[in-house]
Structures are given as structure tokens and as C-alpha cells.
């Protein structure tokens, strides 16, 4: 059971870990009008490194675990199906809540809903760094984080975007607003699977599996680069995210009178989706004991609770152009992402550790 001291440590580590401090530096840099900037090409490079590292690590861990416990395959398949359900459910519920409770226009509500349903690579990367550190701390004897969870990314991301876009377009057509953009689910699915983030992550996972199985020594040497540098790269990546968040803070005023409710939605909803994800993985843990650790449920929470702010805005701008980007972008970047990494993640971590008694 967690003691109060341990809970305080989790909260403080979350707030004052190097990645989080770099995130704060990004926001402060914008406020003091510093010319500190991460060039666009470097941003892509940092994201590539993180995604490849997460994929390689996940793939190699998955192979080792699958060889040891073949039943893990059933767990992965059920978790993938649960991810699809979460993606559709989160988009559907968020859209309705934003429209009815937060009072957003139909187009804005469904465009924002897709962001909440879709997966945030940045949130996931922070989650993986915390879970992997916890696994390192206890050694390989006890399972905390199996590594393969990020493979569920596309199973939640694409269904979430497609359902938000389809429901949004149907709702707009009913209101007589339409003809704006053609919706082609095939194209959205193609972008969802072969878009940079998912494609690189899944491909690295497969590379990790093959390499770990056939040339484990080479794999170990490769991971010297991808493993040890992960946290440092994450710091620079979060600096960039902080700069982006800082630049969007000013845009929050577009929300006007709705800001109070939007604020609540941006904070509370992802926590609910994270908890829903944790409970699902906990149920799976009870059905297949010994195959899932608390870190797995925690990382799943970062996939479910994360709010996409790089790929989803582009998908939504193209598919629901009637929506105002000045509403969904600041909500995702300047409200939900900081909330999630500063407050949501420690809460999810505490919940997972209490459930697993770790």
C-alpha cells in the first residue's frame, strides 16, 4: 500500500522531473518573449527518435514476454479490442458533452471530440518514461511495465478520429451545414495507419520484435542509443511542447464566456477516460494474472486520457473545416496537455499502484 510520503514523492517527481521543468521553461520562454525556438525539422527529428525508441523497446520486451507466456497474445488482442471501443466511446461522449454541457457549436464540439479520442504521442512518451523508470527501479523480477502497451496507439487513434468526423458531419448535415468537406473514411484510416507517428511506432515495434528474436546482442547494442538517450531527448521535446502551449495560451480568450466550462471539460474529461482505461486493464489483469503490471495500466491511461494536438488538428481542419481551430487547438495544447502531465499522470499512477498494491 502507498504511504502518504510515497504519494508526496510521486507528486513532486512529476512536477520537478527534468522533462517537466523543460516544459515549464518552454511556457516561460514565451511569456518573457525569448527567441528560444525549436526548429521544425528538429521537432520532427525528436519525435522520430522518441517513437522509434518506444517501438523498439516495446517490440523487444513483447518478444521476450511472449516466448515466456504465450497467453500474453490473448491479452494483447483483447486490449486492442478494448482500445477500439475506448476510441469510439471517448469521441462520442466527449462530442456530446462539449455540445450539451460546454455549449460549443456542433462543428467545434465534434472537431474537439476527435482530439480527445485520438492519442497524444507526447503524453504517451512522458507516460512511457515514468513506467520504464519504475520498471528499472524494481529490477526484472517483478513486472511493472511490459513495454508493448504503446502498440495499442493506432487501435484507439484511428477509430476515434473516424467516429468523431463521421458523427460530426452527420450532425452538421442535419443542421443544414454541409458540403464543406468530403469525408473519406478510407483516406482517414490510411493517414491514421501510415501517418508518420503511427507508422514509425508500429514499424519500430516489428523491428524490435524481429531483432530481439534473431539477434538479441545487436539489439542490446542498438538500445544503448535509443534507451539511454530517451530521457534527454524527451526534455528537448517537452521544451518544444511548452513553447507551443505558451503560444496558445493567448488564443484561449477566443472561448469567451465558455472558458469556465471548457476549462472544466479540458481538465475533468481526460481524467475520466484515463480512469476508464485503467479499470479496463485492471479487469484484464484479474482475468490473466501475472501478465500485466501497474505500469501497463498507467501507460494505457496516457493513451486513453491523452488529447492529440499534432495529428488530430490537421485531420480535423481537413475534415471539419467549419470548426474554429482557435477553440480546439488551445484546449488541447494549452489546457489538457499540461493538466494531464502535471496532475492527471500522478493521479493515474497512484490509482494504478493502489489497485496493484505496488
Amino acid at each position: 500500500m502507498l504511504t502518504v510520503d510515497e504519494i508526496v514523492v510521486i507528486l513532486l517527481e512529476g512536477l520537478f522531473g527534468p522533462p517537466m521543468l523543460f516544459f515549464a521553461l518552454g511556457i516561460i520562454s514565451v511569456l518573457v518573449k525569448s527567441d528560444l525556438e525549436v526548429p521544425a525539422a528538429m521537432r520532427t527529428g525528436l519525435a522520430m527518435f522518441l517513437l522509434a525508441a518506444i517501438g523498439l523497446n516495446g517490440g523487444s520486451e513483447a518478444v521476450v514476454a511472449l516466448v515466456k507466456y504465450p497467453a500474453l497474445l490473448a491479452v494483447i488482442i483483447i486490449a486492442a479490442l478494448f482500445s477500439i471501443f475506448c476510441g469510439v466511446f471517448i469521441s462520442f461522449s466527449t462530442g456530446n458533452i462539449l455540445k450539451k454541457f460546454a455549449g460549443l457549436k456542433t462543428a467545434d464540439a465534434w472537431a474537439a471530440a476527435g482530439h480527445y479520442g485520438a492519442v497524444s504521442s507526447a503524453t504517451l512518451a512522458v507516460g512511457v518514461s515514468i513506467a520504464a523508470a519504475a520498471q528499472e527501479a524494481v529490477g526484472s523480477g517483478i513486472l511493472v511495465f511490459g513495454g508493448w502497451m504503446p502498440a495499442l496507439y493506432p487501435f484507439m487513434d484511428s477509430p476515434a478520429l473516424i467516429s468523431a468526423i463521421l458523427i460530426g458531419r452527420i450532425a452538421l448535415a442535419k443542421e443544414g451545414i454541409g458540403g464543406g468537406a468530403k469525408v473519406d473514411p478510407k483516406k482517414i484510416l490510411h493517414e491514421g495507419v501510415f501517418g508518420m507517428a503511427v507508422w514509425l511506432l508500429v514499424a519500430s515495434l516489428v523491428i524490435g520484435m524481429l531483432a530481439q528474436y534473431f539477434s538479441p546482442k545487436e539489439m542490446d547494442r542498438t538500445m544503448l542509443f535509443f534507451g539511454d538517450m530517451f530521457r534527454g531527448v524527451l526534455c528537448l521535446f517537452l521544451l518544444d511542447m511548452g513553447l507551443a502551449a505558451g503560444k496558445q495560451i493567448g488564443a484561449l480568450k477566443e472561448l469567451g464566456k465558455r472558458i469556465g466550462r471548457a476549462f472544466m471539460v479540458a481538465f475533468i474529461l481526460p481524467q475520466l477516460w484515463g480512469v476508464m482505461g485503467i479499470l479496463g486493464i485492471y479487469a484484464l489483469h484479474l482475468a490473466f494474472p501475472g501478465l500485466l503490471g501497474w505500469g501497463d495500466a498507467f501507460v494505457f491511461a496516457t493513451i486513453a486520457g491523452g488529447c492529440s494536438f499534432v495529428s488530430a488538428p490537421a485531420a480535423m481542419r481537413a475534415s471539419i473545416p467549419e470548426a474554429n481551430p482557435s477553440i480546439y487547438l488551445p484546449m488541447a495544447v494549452a489546457l489538457t496537455f499540461p493538466f494531464n502531465i502535471i496532475i492527471g499522470m500522478p493521479l493515474w499512477q497512484i490509482m494504478c499502484r493502489v489497485l496493484w498494491g505496488a
Binding site: 488564443a251 494536438f309 488538428p313 481542419r317 482557435s326
Partner: protein
């Protein structure tokens, strides 16, 4: 060297719809164009001034040189009606130029 009068269509808009504009140009029989990427600016909508991640906030400039002015007019009208009149930020204009004739 032979130069002749031609019309240049300039379209500055959101990077996101670059592909859609190119395919509209192709439908209109235009297959030669130049694209400038990663350009910045601000318009009356104000939404193009913020920097954000990914392609969302970057702009492109597409230039097309067309011999007959009537065709250039048709192209700029099609682009305006399909994209700029409704939801996407941007501007399109015509310029008189002199180009080499093949």
C-alpha cells in the same frame, strides 16, 4: 529567345490543403506549378498568425503561369469558390508576367 505575355495565378493558403489544390489544378488541366512551403504571414482571420505544431499553422504559396488570361481567370475562380470563399484562410491574385514560350 522569345518572351510572350502570360498570366500568373498566385495562391497563398493553408499548407493542409496543398494536395487538394494541386488535384483541383489537375482537374482544370494545369500540370505545371511552383510551390513555396513554410511561409508565414497574417490575415484578417487572425488564425494564421499563431505558430503551432505540425502542418496546422503553416502556409504555402502556389504559383501557376498560364498563357491565356481567360483560363487563368477560370483557375482562380475555381480555387476561390472551392476553398477560400468558405473555410480556409488565404488569398489568390493574378499578375501579368512575361514568360518564355516553349
Amino acid at each position: 529567345m522569345k518572351l510572350r505575355e502570360a498570366t500568373k495565378v498566385v495562391i497563398i493558403t493553408e499548407a493542409l490543403i496543398e494536395e487538394q489544390i494541386i488535384s483541383l489544378l489537375a482537374e482544370l488541366g494545369v500540370h505545371a506549378y511552383t510551390i513555396f512551403r513554410e511561409i508565414a504571414g497574417e490575415g484578417t482571420r487572425g488564425i494564421r498568425s499563431g505558430d503551432c505544431l505540425g502542418k496546422m499553422c503553416s502556409n504555402v504559396c502556389i504559383e501557376v503561369v498560364i498563357d491565356e488570361e481567360a483560363r487563368a481567370q477560370a483557375v482562380i475562380e475555381a480555387v476561390y469558390n472551392k476553398f477560400l470563399a468558405k473555410h480556409y484562410a488565404g488569398i489568390a491574385y493574378l499578375e501579368n508576367v512575361r514568360a518564355f514560350h516553349h
